[in-house]
Amino acid sequence: MLKRDQIIGLGLIVLGVIFGIMTSRFPVAFTPEYPGPKAVPGLAVIGLIVCGLGIFIESTRKQGEEKAFFGKEGWKKVIISFVVLILYILGMKYLGYMISTPILLYVVATMFAKGQTARVWAKILYSIILTVLVYLVYVQLFGLALPRGVIF
């Protein structure tokens, strides 16, 4: 099985190759007199491929066990939090900031408080107060706009 750094190294190489192909298709040519728009992305692509290769080789030569980064449970938590945030973004789009934010705050506070004492009423109060506070600061104080939602 591949080590973590070997996967990262290969990932960087693949990324470099993909962006390298895209860079080669830019219409202005690269010449020694004027490198044009291909130069900086080209430099980055070379960097990605060389570093990816370096990371891969170093990791292959390195002995010893790797410490787990997340573990199965950790990945599950991260995926769930991504889903929650995607739902929040959709919530902001359709329901608006004022409805979706307290729900998000309550859900995330509950998720993050797992294993610790956090009273339900305290989390509800926290969610409402913070939502209003952010609204007051951003909208009332600084005159910025927050999503109003398309349903209401």
């Binding site: 490198p35 992305p41 991260v78 902001m92």
Partner: protein, 499 residues
């Protein structure tokens, strides 16, 4: 500078600006004190708020957050033995043993006073030196600016944690991100995939909060929040430091200040390096090096003076050259651009008053931070007790709201999630974030100057034949290969010893 006094005074005595300064300092201290957060994160999160402000208040808020964050980092180091940010790593070595020995009050007092001295005087030196550097900068052409950008990026790679390949890979990703949108001079569309939201390039707020903020919270959640150790509040009994003790440390104070200011001035370097260099040089110069690491006040003086002196030091290249001294000044350059301020030698001619106000804000912030810390010394343990399940959800909301207000578009919130994923993958691969930040922000300046230089001379050799540019490029190449060179020197030494 004197001519700008009226403008500076009028800005700094405005009630709204005073309020912003105090709030910014207080929030900065909290962000600096809590391990995992930092003054840089505070600057990123609050940056979108400043878009709707006038230039003066915007600068005051951002700088006060930064100064508060730099100073507050010693609180976590002293009370928990965990640095609030990389700038206070060396502070842990002696401040935490002092706390364990029941002298937390004294360790905190040294941290506060050292932070004040470092920040305040570096602001004064910065204000005096930046104009001189700016005058010299008029002699620089696009070749030198390109080389300066290269030095800033490669230096950050050289001091990044982990190996060189990872630092370089991170910088390469930053350069790719900086390439998105229309290219300078030729206006060629790059990596836009026909998406109108990408035509103008990637938003700094979206990329940086996604990678630097949101991903960090998710990684910590995935790994499980580690509870912070309890703080013994009984050890905070008065400050217990006398003027005589400060006077006795004057040599160390001067040396550490010089190191902090100098390292801060170097493009790409900052407080993260200066505290370690000052600590080790203080230890080397000491008659009692064995005391270091056991709760020796000199160690705290060295670390805290130098990391705060880097504030003024890093502002010099930022103001005079438009090249950031560290990742936070890189962010400030970006934020100031939104307000129509292009940092560099011309800024002294066009907006000299604003530049000097920046230095004045740092100096005033140093005083306010000292006062806030002296008054709130007993509340420090409470700051460190803020539960993660209340702090992080708030930061998530502020992050996504910041993405939205960047262009009043929900699309940007989605984009921020993508960059949070990039941040998680970078953490997974242990790729440092600082090179990405610097390369992403400096990318357009680097490319612009490189293309201009080629338009003038049509050859790359000029980059090496112009003396300053040549030296800078050699420095940049040298810093990339510095780990290899160090390894080579070590091997030669060992083989010589064997002979």
């Amino acid at each position: 500078m004197i001519a700008n006094f009226h403008f500076i005074a009028s800005q700094l005595i405005m009630p709204l600006n005073i309020l912003l300064l105090v709030i910014g300092n207080a929030i900065g201290i909290i962000f600096g004190a809590i391990p995992g957060l930092s003054g840089t994160l505070a600057v990123i999160l609050f940056m979108p708020l400043t878009y709707s402000m006038e230039t003066g208040p915007a600068i005051i808020l951002l700088i006060s957050l930064w100064v508060g964050g730099c100073s507050g980092a010693f609180i976590g180091s002293t009370l928990l033995g965990i640095p609030g940010s990389p700038s206070a790593v060396a502070t842990c070595f002696d401040a935490y043993p002092m706390t364990k020995a029941g002298k937390a009050g004294k360790a905190l007092a040294i941290g506060m006073i050292a932070s004040f001295i470092g920040t305040f005087f570096s602001a004064i030196f910065g204000a005096l030196l930046s104009k001189i550097v700016a005058d010299l900068a008029f002699k620089l052409g696009p070749w030198e600016y390109f080389s300066l950008c290269m030095v800033a990026i490669t230096m950050v790679i050289a001091i990044s944690k982990g190996n060189m390949f990872k630092g370089l890979a991170s910088a390469s990703i930053g350069l790719l991100f900086a390439s998105v949108g229309f290219s300078p001079i030729d206006a060629v569309q790059r990596f836009t995939f026909g998406n109108v939201y990408l035509y103008g390039g990637l938003s700094m707020i979206v990329v940086l909060i996604g990678i630097f903020g949101l991903s960090k919270i998710m990684v910590e959640y995935g790994q499980g929040f580690s509870p912070l150790p309890a703080v013994d509040t009984k050890s905070i009994k008065g400050l217990g430091i006398s003027l005589r003790e400060i006077r006795e440390s004057w040599k160390n104070i001067l040396r550490s200040f010089g190191i902090g200011l100098g390292i801060g001035f170097l493009p790409g370097m900052g407080a993260g390096l200066s505290n370690l260099v000052a600590y080790s040089s203080c230890k080397n110069a000491s008659k009692t090096p064995e005391k270091f690491g056991t709760g020796h006040p000199e160690g705290i003086w060295a670390s805290e003076i130098s990391n705060n002196a880097a504030v003024g030091g890093s502002m010099i290249p930022m103001a005079a050259l438009g090249i950031p001294g560290d990742s936070t000044t890189a962010l400030l350059i970006g934020a100031l651009t939104v307000h129509g301020l292009e940092m560099g030698p011309m800024v002294f001619k066009n907006s000299g008053d604003v530049v000097y106000m920046m230095f004045a804000t740092v100096a005033v912030s140093a005083i306010v931070v000292l006062a806030l810390q002296a008054m709130g010394v007993r509340t420090f343990p409470k700051i460190l007790k803020i539960p993660y399940h209340y702090m992080y959800p708030a930061l998530i909301v502020i992050s996504l709201v910041s993405a939205y207000i960047d262009s009043n578009s929900i699309y940007k919130c989605g984009m921020m999630l993508v960059f949070a994923l990039v941040g998680i993958l970078m953490s997974l691969g242990n790729l440092p974030v600082a090179p990405l930040i610097l390369a992403f922000i400096l990318g357009p300046t680097l490319e612009n100057n490189m293309l201009k230089a080629f338009q003038y001379t049509g050859t790359f050799t000029t980059f090496f034949t112009r003396p300053i540019s040549g030296i800078l490029l050699i420095l940049a190449i040298g810093s990339i290969f510095s780990p290899l060179l160090r390894m080579l020197v070590k091997k030669i030494k060992t083989s010589r010893q064997e002979i």
